[in-house]
Amino acid sequence: MVYLTRKAEFSAAHYYHNPEFTSEENQRVFGKCNNPNGHGHNYTLEVTVKGEVDPKSGFVVDLKQLKDVMSREVLDAFDHRFLNKEVPEFLTKIPTTENLAIAIWQRLAPKLKAAQLHRVRVYETPDLFVDFYGEA
């Protein structure tokens, strides 16, 4: 089994707000991130897939295909968007880094053919990242 990781970057705006909370609760729980006008990050995405090395190609996965799936399923939808307003998952879910990692996993997992998705890592900043391994 070999693990292969591909990086990508996207920039997006978001804010944290739960309509079931009062304004005070939202402010207390989410702090600065509750500003309704939004703020943004340069996100770094790391997608790790695993599989056996194909004896003919020497690949775990065709990197071009992986790159295309990541671009189509994630970057086209997230890059330079206001996540709360333009990405369907976040019309109802708060676009925290945790939920971003889960949403990205759910977008990629069904589209990857040869290799198996192992981990989605999303860096919100160089000092904060979330890993999702598809665990229930």
Binding site: V29, I94, E98, N99, D131, Y133, E135
Partner: protein, 138 residues
């Protein structure tokens, strides 16, 4: 759904690697430059990884503000700009980054209960790093 959240922090501290159980020659042979009696220092980076179910109400494993506050008050306040050899945990233990990593893991494990502690990782320099996942991890 379960996610892992990792946060990085930095602090700077001095230390000297020296064991009272060894002779001067043994100390020099074992620790080399790190045995310099006047000590030396590092910019340490620590990575704290916690895990847990993502809360439906907040979208979070745990509130980052709580994690940051705990690490600042209990870890960074204790170690930043200090001489590690003078701290109580290093009176009898050599302040190697292995032992520092375990000490920080134990502080987190004892006091931070908002999410499950997965591991503490420390970069002593850009070239070396250490991880501790607790005694039970094999």
């Amino acid at each position: 759904m379960k996610a892992h959240l990792t946060r990085r922090y930095m602090f700077s501290a001095s230390h000297r690697l020296h064991s009272d159980e060894m002779s001067e020659e043994e100390n020099r042979a074992t620790y080399g430059k790190c045995n310099n009696p006047y000590g030396h220092g590092h910019n340490y980076t620590i990575e704290v990884t916690v895990s847990g179910p993502v809360d439906d109400q907040t979208g979070m494993v745990c509130n980052l503000a709580d994690l940051d506050a705990f690490v600042h008050n209990q870890v960074l306040e204790r170690y930043d700009h200090q001489n590690l050899n003078l701290l109580s945990e290093f009176v009898k233990q050599v302040p190697t980054t292995e032992n520092l990593c375990i000490a920080i893991y134990e502080i987190m494990k004892r006091g931070f209960h908002n999410a499950h502690l997965e591991k503490v990782r420390i970069e002593e320099t850009m070239m070396n790093s250490f991880e501790y996942r607790g005694e039970s991890a094999r």
